[in-house]
């Protein structure tokens, strides 16, 4: 670090620092609003303060590294008698001091005035220490994204684009899971995009540590902290190449570095087109063609933003065509292999308890025959539930075989695209010490379960079958035997 440079930054940005300090102090005054609940107001203040803190990790690099992107200012600042390494460290340290200083002061002030009675001081200290780490991580990563570009506008675009990548990853995973994997176990994979987002991981951990409440799902995760640090290390490597070894003459040029527009435009195209391809190979709807044309338009528009001129070259269309063909190829391969065989990955013996539910709307006189909800026909709803302790599954092999038979039928139905009968089955697994269900799978059946199957479930030790009958005034519930006795076998 260079003390003189740091001193100049401090003097030069003292008014901005004061502004942010007043802003943070204003936020901390929210609990003073008469009549408001102190704990929820404290929680709200902390939440807003965390948002502002993270926002500042985006804003300050944009402001303080803008000189790199302008030829005139690059001339001035790179000619200063300071090495680039020291310059980088000094600016980052200044940003850190400004954000963390204000954050720590406000967090301590808030705790001291409003939350000392119900939040442990050690927890606040831990939160402040963790905030220091998270602010450093976010500053490094955002600065690296910003410096992939060669001008201020593109730098801001890069920060936005890289920050949003996890959303696209989530979109691809959801589309794959919903369209390609029979069972739609979204919950098993929905956490994956978190690992691509230092912002989400930092937000989660900061919120967890600063929250006056202690919900199970809001717990601090060390793995997120470690992953964020790994991201920061990657950011440091990027900063080495994009600041210390930066070619100053790149200022105000097109952002044509492989990590800038060339990667971002194609990565976005690949992910969006792939997410849509998974839907297309299942539905074959004409609407998808329109979507592909719209994305092509967006792809060309992105090239315009990148090159600042309209350039309709065959290469652009060829690249888009290649991306589309590869995405469709991947989607067809997924369909042909039952979602790369992921639909067969479910294991009953997970956790402590297997929870099964069958649900179907059927004809009142034939509970193994479907009705259409839209037809206006009368119907009754059948529920077959089973809760089997995982360590007792083997005691009832017939029931297990039946559940597996229904599940395989659901898988076949999914990939063969048979008509939906309205009958569906769910599998969950739960853990004794957790309130949330895990390992949730959901299958649609082409035909309701047979009466024999329902009887077998009903006769098993862990299973029950109920029939709900709706009339104008009420819902009546019968056991399987009661209903069959009432309606006649």
């Amino acid at each position: 670090m260079n003390k003189n440079y740091f001193g100049w930054l401090l003097k030069n940005y003292r008014i901005s620092a004061l502004f942010f300090l007043i802003l943070f102090a204003g936020i901390s005054a929210i609990p003073l609003i008469p009549g408001s609940d102190v704990i929820s107001s404290y929680s709200l203040s902390i939440g807003i303060m965390t948002v502002f803190t993270l926002l500042m990790t985006f804003l300050l690099p944009v402001l303080l590294f803008a000189f790199v992107h302008r030829r005139r200012s690059a001339d001035q600042f790179f000619a200063l008698p300071i090495s680039r390494t020291k310059q980088l460290i000094t600016i980052l340290l200044f940003c850190f001091t400004m954000i963390f200083g204000i954050f720590a002061l406000t967090a301590l002030g808030l705790w001291l005035i409003y939350a000392a009675r119900f939040v442990l001081f050690t927890k606040v200290l831990g939160a402040i220490a963790m905030a220091a780490l998270m602010i450093a991580v976010m500053l490094i990563i955002n600065t690296a994204f910003y410096l992939f570009a060669n001008n201020v506008f593109d730098g801001i675009v890069m920060i936005g684009a890289y920050t949003c990548i996890p959303l696209l990853v989530l979109g691809v995973i959801e589309s794959f899971s919903m369209n390609m994997v029979a069972g739609e176990n979204i919950f098993a994979v929905s956490g994956i995009p978190m690992w691509f987002s230092p912002l989400a991981m930092c937000w989660h951990n900061l919120s967890a540590l600063l929250s006056p409440y202690s919900y199970a799902e809001d717990q601090f995760y060390w793995l997120y902290a470690i992953a964020a640090v790994l991201w920061a290390l990657a950011g440091c490597a990027a900063l080495y190449w994009h600041f210390i070894k930066r070619k100053t003459e790149r200022a105000e040029q097109l952002s044509d570095h492989p990590m800038a527009y060339p990667l971002i435009i194609n990565l976005y195209a690949v992910m969006i087109v792939t997410a849509i391809a998974f839907g297309y190979v299942i539905d074959y709807a004409i609407g998808y063609i329109t979507l592909y044309l719209l994305i092509l338009f967006a792809y060309v528009a992105a090239q315009f933003i990148y090159r600042r001129k309209i350039r309709l070259t065959p290469k652009i269309f060829a690249a888009y065509a290649l991306i589309t063909v590869l995405a469709l190829g991947c989607a067809y391969a997924a369909k042909a292999t039952d979602g790369f065989n992921l639909s067969q990955k479910y294991t009953y013996k997970t956790g402590d308890l297997l929870i099964f539910r069958y649900e179907a709307a059927v004809r009142p006189d034939r509970i193994d025959q479907p009705v259409s909800y839209d037809s206006g026909e009368e119907y009754v709803t059948i529920y077959a539930d089973a809760e089997i302790p995982v360590n007792e599954i083997d005691r009832d092999p017939e029931l297990t075989a039946l559940l597996e038979k229904l599940r395989q039928e659901g898988i076949r139905n999914f990939y063969q695209g048979k008509n939906d009968s309205g009958a569906q089955i769910y599998f969950h697994n739960s853990y004794r010490n957790e309130s949330v269900l895990r390992n949730t799978y959901f299958y649609r059946l082409s035909m309701p379960a047979s009466i024999e199957d329902l009887k077998m479930i009903d006769d098993s030790v862990c299973g029950t079958v109920t029939v709900q009958v709706y009339d104008e005034y009420e819902v009546k519930e019968y056991s399987l035997n009661e209903y069959m006795g009432k309606e006649g076998e």
């Binding site: 003189n4 440079y5 100049w8 302008r70 005139r72 001339d75 000619a79 008698p81 300071i82 100053t248």
Partner: protein, 294 residues
């Protein structure tokens, strides 16, 4: 001493500086001239440590100007387009120079007066010429040993230019600073520079003492009784040849006495010798190498 050895710099596939070698002794005022795109600004930025050389070395008093940041304390670089943050005043800019360089407050106050500037002035509202004065004010206030002026001289009005020239002269005389000035106004450079370098296509085409070089090149207006061809002057180093009937206008490099002796042997009916200006020297130098069309 500024020493440049085998310097190469490319922008993408375009090689701007090609195996450039140059030595400028302390206390020189060096005029760097060249046509647009010759690489003057790139060379100055590389000397200032803004650009990293692709190959070769730039050293000032034995220290690499890109790698050794301490030597940059002695280098002031005034770019062709100076940068001033929005809302900055001369006083706020001063903070940066005070923090980073050996700032001379006394000199600063003196130059403020000389350039008719006020510390409270908002730089964004100043004219181009006034902004140029601000840049020069700070460049001089840090007491540099090497001053790099990239067309910084061009935006000044005559009076400011005169004052600046006087300041430079005294700094060169009293403190022995080295100045490199790149400018398109060769007439102005002629008054201030003692040495020069012509940059062409990324290489130093010619370098030397300005007075010596000017003394070595002269314009000759000759008339002969009978018509001559260019071939008749083959013993002379002709840089420019112009013929109108039996009247010849030649620019010849070489000792004036020796050239005159050769011409006398050709029995001219009229001989007139004129000195060349720096601008003409530049033009004829490029012309003689076929780099510009007549």
């Amino acid at each position: 001493m500024l020493k440049i050895e085998h310097l190469e710099k490319s922008f993408g596939s375009v090689q701007v500086l090609k195996d450039l070698n140059l030595e400028i002794p302390d206390g020189s005022v060096f005029g760097l001239v060249g046509i647009n795109g010759a690489g003057k600004s790139t060379l100055l930025r590389t000397i200032a440590g803004v650009y990293e050389p692709d190959r070769g070395n730039v050293s000032f008093n034995g220290n690499n100007t890109f790698r050794d940041e301490t030597v940059r304390k002695d280098i002031a670089f005034v770019a062709d387009e100076a940068y001033f943050p929005i809302g900055s005043t001369i006083r706020s800019l001063k903070m940066l120079y005070e923090s980073m360089y050996g700032f001379d407050e006394e000199a600063y106050q003196e130059y403020l007066k000389q350039f008719d500037l006020d510390e409270k002035m908002s730089v964004s509202n100043l004219s181009k010429g006034m902004k140029r004065r601000v840049s020069l004010l700070f460049a001089l206030s840090i007491r540099p040993k090497l001053l790099l002026l990239d067309e910084a001289y061009d935006g000044l009005e005559p009076l400011a230019r005169l004052r600046f020239r006087r300041i430079l002269s005294s700094l060169v005389e009293e403190e022995g600073i080295t100045v490199i000035i790149s400018s398109h106004s060769l007439r102005e450079l002629e008054d201030i520079c003692d040495s020069f370098g012509i940059l062409e296509d990324g290489k130093i085409l010619r370098t030397g003492d300005l007075l010596e070089e000017k003394g070595n090149i002269s314009k000759y207006q000759l008339a002969f009784a009978e018509e001559k061809t260019k071939e008749d002057f083959k013993d002379l180093e002709i840089m420019h040849y112009e013929q109108e009937g039996r009247v010849y206008r030649l620019v010849i490099r070489g000792d004036q006495d020796e050239v005159m002796e050769t011409i006398r042997q050709m029995n001219p009916v009229l001989t007139d010798v004129l000195p060349v200006s720096f601008e003409e020297l530049f033009i004829y130098e490029l012309e003689s190498r076929g780099n510009i069309h007549e």
